[in-house]
């Protein structure tokens, strides 16, 4: 599909019946194409179709069959492209409800898509190791800048902070992207699959507790954390992790999307998309 002067390649996988909804599959970086590593997205798409769920997977610019130049800008990473593909898929299918699935940096894109288009009922976040894609970049960078300034101007205070930060490891506080909170507040479901070390897992769970406190206790029933067997900070890790992710995504989407097809209004009268500054 056209995107400015370029074209984005995408595959829409349809069930034989009328789809119950749409799942948008968004892979990570490192020039991973639309099928993801080892056909993971292709397999997930076909299993979703067997559950009467349509899915769309895309090549980012400069990757796979899309034209253009690859971009690895973490802020708003391929967001507009993913929004375009999602809108086209929703319009073509005329379904109202959709869910987003992101892996690694694709998590960020997925959450932004889910937060900007009406009808998102859930977000699944596959994080092999780093939690960065879930976080507001602001909190991490701003805090690091503050610490550096303190180190230069008030060494004694900085030493105290180091002792405290070292003990509590709150140097990188887990402030989730606001879209995550928004999805939960609107009744949506969230799945985290995380393969990081114990410390990272603890931060994620602590963050999830804070999120539930913010959103309300009923969010606990709609927020799920599953372990992922990973060995390295990047990539999809071992083959068993791929199988885990596919199984979890399909089961989660089956539970999250409505059991029967829900027709969307024609594109011209579709509710305005949420805008974020």
């Amino acid at each position: 599909m056209p995107f400015g002067d370029e074209h984005l390649a995408a595959i829409l996988t349809l069930p034989e019946s009328i789809p119950r909804g749409l799942v948008v599959l968004l892979q990570g970086a490192a020039a991973t194409p639309r099928s993801a590593r080892n056909q993971a997205w292709t397999i997930a798409a076909r299993r979703l179709a067997a559950a009467d769920i349509a899915s769309v997977r895309m090549d980012y610019p400069g990757v796979g069959d899309s034209t253009g130049v690859p971009s690895f800008e973490i802020k708003a990473w391929n967001r507009e492209q993913a929004l375009k593909v999602t809108r086209v898929a929703l319009d073509a299918l005329q379904v109202e409800k959709f869910a987003v699935v992101g892996q690694c940096i694709g998590v960020r894109t997925a959450l932004e898509v889910g937060g900007r288009i009406e009808g998102c009922v859930g977000a699944a976040c596959i994080l092999v190791w780093p939690l960065g894609p879930l976080m507001e970049v602001w909190s991490k960078r701003r805090f690091r800048d503050v610490r550096r300034i303190l180190a230069q101007r008030i060494p004694a205070l900085h030493r105290i902070m180091r002792r405290v930060m070292g003990a509590t490891r709150t140097g990188q506080s887990l402030r989730f992207l606001p879209e995550l909170t928004q999805i939960l507040r609107s009744g949506g479901h969230v799945l985290f699959m995380h393969g990081g070390p114990e410390e990272s897992d603890r931060r994620l769970r602590d963050g999830a507790v804070n999120l539930m406190d913010e959103v309300g206790s009923d969010a606990g029933q709609r927020l799920q954390i599953l372990p992922l067997q990973a060995e390295a900070p990047y990539g999809t890790g071992p083959l068993v992790a791929q199988d885990q992710a596919i199984d979890a995504i399909v089961a989660w989407a089956d539970k999250t999307l409505p059991p029967v097809p829900q027709t969307a209004p024609p594109p011209a009268s579709r509710p305005q998309e949420r805008q974020h500054t």
Partner: protein, 316 residues
């Protein structure tokens, strides 16, 4: 509620006036199952010669894809129809990765050549591939007795190739894949014990490991008498005996051969991931890829045939 198929079908192809090409998604039957292919054709009248790009094995298929896609587009811009496709077990194909073999790659490349012939008015076909894909292209060209062949750093000795993959597995997640199923730490032991290992997120099965390990390209070629371009990718101009032997073999079969050397400091990474998160996603193979594209486009362009006459010009 009706799915807007006309909207979807309208996006099955696109034209790029800047490059002078059109690309169209196809869903042919290749290797006994459905898959996805992309046919790149010039907007101006095409030459009667087309190219099939034969992709490589496992993670190399993903790593070399950007190069192959750009190759297809440049060749199309120079007047050639070009087909690239997902062999069974890759990408959007029906097949399973566990059934991938060297034989299945060759089978699928032969089917892809037929798809290209069916979709266009070509009378001659050339094949292109890199690393494992180069050997696939050579074997397919040998079977088709096609007219031209481009080999980027071809796999000549399957045993060495498989050993290099096994070493990669040692550096990635092989221990995780085997931890839950056995006690093997050596990749080959792991293969024998578990039947597979993971190499950069792709399965390497014992069957294909043994199949490719017994493969030798020099011994496998028997009929290809067309024109070929072999590109050695290296960090220096030091000649390689095995490539000289390949040149000799192709000449022995009656073909004509050009051997070019592309020198690049990243030569040893050809076939591996080009974008690195540790280096802020820098494209570590940009200059290497451009050199390959330039040499290949020039060579292919000088082989364009119009109305039975070779076109004697070099293209950008």
């Amino acid at each position: 509620m009706a799915i807007d198929y006309s909207l979807l079908e309208s996006m099955g192809s696109y034209g790029d006036a800047r490059r002078g090409i059109e690309e169209r998604f196809l869903t042919p039957v290749i290797g006994g199952g459905r898959t996805v292919a992309v046919l790149s054709t010039p907007l101006s009248p095409a030459t009667p010669m087309g190219w099939v790009i034969c992709h490589s094995f496992g993670a190399e298929q993903m790593s070399l894809q950007p190069l192959e896609v750009e190759m297809a587009r440049r060749l199309s811009a120079n007047g050639f129809p070009v087909l690239r496709f997902h062999a069974q077990g890759y990408g959007d194909s029906d097949g399973s990765p566990s059934n991938v073999t060297l034989k299945s790659h060759v089978r699928d490349s032969l089917d892809a050549a037929q798809v290209l012939a069916d979709q266009t008015n070509i009378s001659t076909i050339g094949l292109i591939g890199g690393r494992f894909g180069a050997s696939v292209a050579a074997l397919a060209a040998d079977r088709l007795t096609s007219s031209a062949l481009v080999l980027w750093e071809p796999m000549l000795d399957g045993r060495r190739y498989m050993q290099s993959l096994a070493r990669l597995a040692m550096g990635t997640n092989v221990t995780s894949d085997v931890r839950f199923r056995g006690s093997a730490q050596d990749p080959h032991e792991a293969l024998l014990e578990n039947g597979f290992i993971g190499v950069h997120g792709f399965p390497l099965g014992l069957g294909v490991f043994e199949e490719v390990s017994s493969f030798n390209l020099l011994e496998s070629l028997s009929a290809f008498a067309g024109e070929s371009l072999i590109i050695q990718i290296a960090r220096s101009r030091k000649p390689r005996t095995d490539l000289d032997q390949l040149v000799a073999r192709l000449k022995e079969l009656g073909g004509s051969v050009s051997l070019e050397v592309v020198i690049d400091p990243q030569a040893n990474t050809f076939g591996q991931q080009r974008y690195h998160e540790e280096r802020e996603q820098a494209d570590t193979q940009a200059t290497l890829s451009e050199a390959l594209l330039s040499v290949t486009t020039s060579w292919c362009g000088s082989r364009k045939v119009w109305n039975g006459q070779r076109e004697d010009r070099h293209c950008k």
